[in-house]
């Protein structure tokens, strides 16, 4: 938590705390997508 509970650097005026967690929505989705693609060939996902 201390890692991202801060204001700087800002992105388009949005404090770090907020855009960092929004970025993780996208990253999380990409990671799940990657796992899905990688496991697709092996078994019926």
């Amino acid at each position: 938590m201390p890692l991202y509970a801060r204001l700087e650097p800002t992105l388009f005026g949005i404090p770090f705390f907020y855009w960092y967690q929004i970025a993780w929505i996208v990253l999380g989705s990409l990671l799940i997508g990657a796992v899905l693609l990688l496991t697709q060939g092996r078994r019926d996902v």
Binding site: M1, L7, T10, F12, I14, F17, Y18, I22, G28, V45
Partner: protein
């Protein structure tokens, strides 16, 4: 009263259209409507796109869209926990719900508690899970109406009678098409709801920061305004709230998929792959959610003043002030249809649970009587929610909804861990569940229904559901070891490993 009459016209036209669509769903799909699988799960036939709209439509509820910005408006950074919460929730969808979908299809389960009955061979555990889910969903259905009520009260020029009757009519329409069409009704309406939601939020993102002088200015103005609140809020969490923030996010993420509306929508998917794909694509809604949460700060920056009891009006008033009339109408229609979709799915999910896991356990009735029970119960759930909203003060319903979330976490060892292991003994799980429920309820009462609690020993502030869960798991583990040592058996498991593959 909202500024513009064009807002009302646009709103009314969309609402009538949506109602017609709901009834049109009765022509969608074929199949025997007297079976619970057809009525309650749309015959398990939904593909990726329908599921995306349906899951998006009922997980991201109107209440969330009204309450979340209200939370940030009132309390600052802590409200943003919903963002890591929904990010984490999809990991559970990807891993746990796909597994549940497989066993549910193989063995014909309609609810989560159906699985508990087979897995643990214990009816008390089944009823405990079913009642927990229904108890958690009921105030949630009621809260969907709060957002609707906020909009309708404005249209009714502040007259509670007009707003009350409008609410009644809207709900009667939903109840009717849900009764007739089952899950297909809200699924079809979800398309419109989500489209309206996207239009509203994208428009808000274009119009509002520009009118308020950019994000930098919005945050600094909101930061100043938050400091004047009692208790003061801030753009960042104080260090003693870090643990609370983390446990709130993780705890809520681990319950989302067990709610009746999630299970109902997930089981209506036609394959495991549909759910897995949706775990990838549903987070698009989370981005909307995050942006919408920030609308709470926009309302602060726009100088909208509301006392602590009426923060749910923050977004409706903000949109009314800054949107052109017709667009405000679209936004209000989004809030109202956004309430109706999840309310209908939650009612279907709760009715399925109550009919198959509570009533059916005490009577000899089996389908199609079970389906008829579920349909009538669905009407009863909606009616009860309406009564709740019109009679009980809103903060009370919010308290119950928060407590319901903490309760849901107490079925995690049975429902989620039970999908992977049969190590725990049913009696131990039941005792753990009871301890968890009592513990979270006691903490909620002690703090005046806050979702966080400071441990007396070291003052660590955390989510009440999380503390209850730790106790729950400790009791379940301890008793299982004890029962094992005394040589009693683990009970019957009617599922076999092949059911999970």
């Amino acid at each position: 009263m909202f500024r513009s009459s064009s807002a009302f016209v646009v709103f009314a036209v969309i609402f009538v259209g949506v109602s017609v669509l709901g009834f049109a769903a009765s022509r969608w799909g074929s199949g025997d409507r007297t079976s619970l699988e057809e009525w309650g799960l749309a015959g398990r036939g939904f593909g990726t796109i329908v599921s995306w709209f349906l899951l998006g439509g009922d997980l991201y509820t109107a209440y969330t869209f009204v309450a979340l910005p209200a939370f940030l408006y009132g309390a600052g950074a802590i409200g943003f926990f919903a963002v890591p919460y929904t990010t984490l929730a999809f990991i559970f969808f990807f891993v746990v719900v796909t597994r549940f979908w497989v066993v549910a299809r193989n063995r014909g389960y309609v609810t989560l508690a159906d699985f508990i009955r087979d897995r643990f061979g214990d009816r008390r555990l089944e009823v405990a899970v079913a009642l927990t889910c229904v108890a958690a969903a009921m105030p949630y259905v009621a809260l969907q109406l709060v957002g609707m009520q906020a909009v309708l009260t404005q249209f009714g020029a502040g007259s509670p009678l007009v707003a009350g009757s409008a609410l009644f009519v809207a709900f009667a329409i939903v109840a009717a098409y849900t009764y007739i069409c089952g899950l297909r009704g809200p699924a079809l309406v979800a398309f419109v709801k989500d489209a309206l939601m996207y239009v509203t939020i994208i428009a808000a993102m274009v119009i509002i920061p520009a009118k308020l002088g950019g994000w930098g200015h919005i945050f600094s103005a909101a930061g100043v305004a938050l400091k004047t609140h009692v208790p003061p809020g801030g753009l960042l969490l104080p260090p003693n709230m870090y643990f609370a923030y983390g446990t709130l996010a993780l705890g809520s993420a681990s319950t989302l998929f067990m709610y009746p509306h999630s299970i109902t929508s997930a089981l209506s998917a036609k394959s495991k792959r549909v759910i897995a794909r949706n775990a990838v694509f549903l987070p698009i809604y989370s981005i909307l959610l995050a942006l919408l949460a920030l609308m709470g700060y926009c309302a602060l920056a726009a100088g909208i003043h509301l006392d602590a009891k009426h923060t749910s009006l923050a977004v409706p008033l903000l949109l009314d002030a800054l949107f052109p009339g017709w667009l405000a109408g679209v936004a209000f229609a989004a809030i109202v249809t956004g309430a109706l979709v999840p309310a209908a799915v939650m009612a279907i999910g709760s009715a399925n649970l109550f009919a198959s896991n509570v009533l059916a356990e005490f009577t000899q009735d089996r389908p199609p009587a079970e389906t008829q029970h579920a349909k009538l119960l669905c009407l009863a759930v909606l009616a009860a929610a309406l009564v709740l909203v019109l009679t009980v003060p809103v903060p009370f319903a919010i308290n119950f909804q928060l407590l319901g979330g903490a309760w849901m976490l107490q079925i995690f060892p049975v429902a989620a861990m039970g999908l992977y292991t049969r190590w725990f003994y049913p009696n131990a799980l039941l005792a753990g569940w009871a301890c968890g429920i009592v513990c979270t309820t006691a903490m909620a009462i002690a703090t005046g229904f806050k979702s966080t609690f400071a441990l007396p020993a070291n003052g660590l502030v955390g989510y009440i559901g999380f503390y209850g869960f730790v106790l729950n798991l400790a009791v379940a583990t301890g008793l299982t070891l004890l029962l094992r040592a005394t040589g009693s058996g683990p009970g019957v498991d009617r599922t076999v490993p092949a059911d999970y593959a």
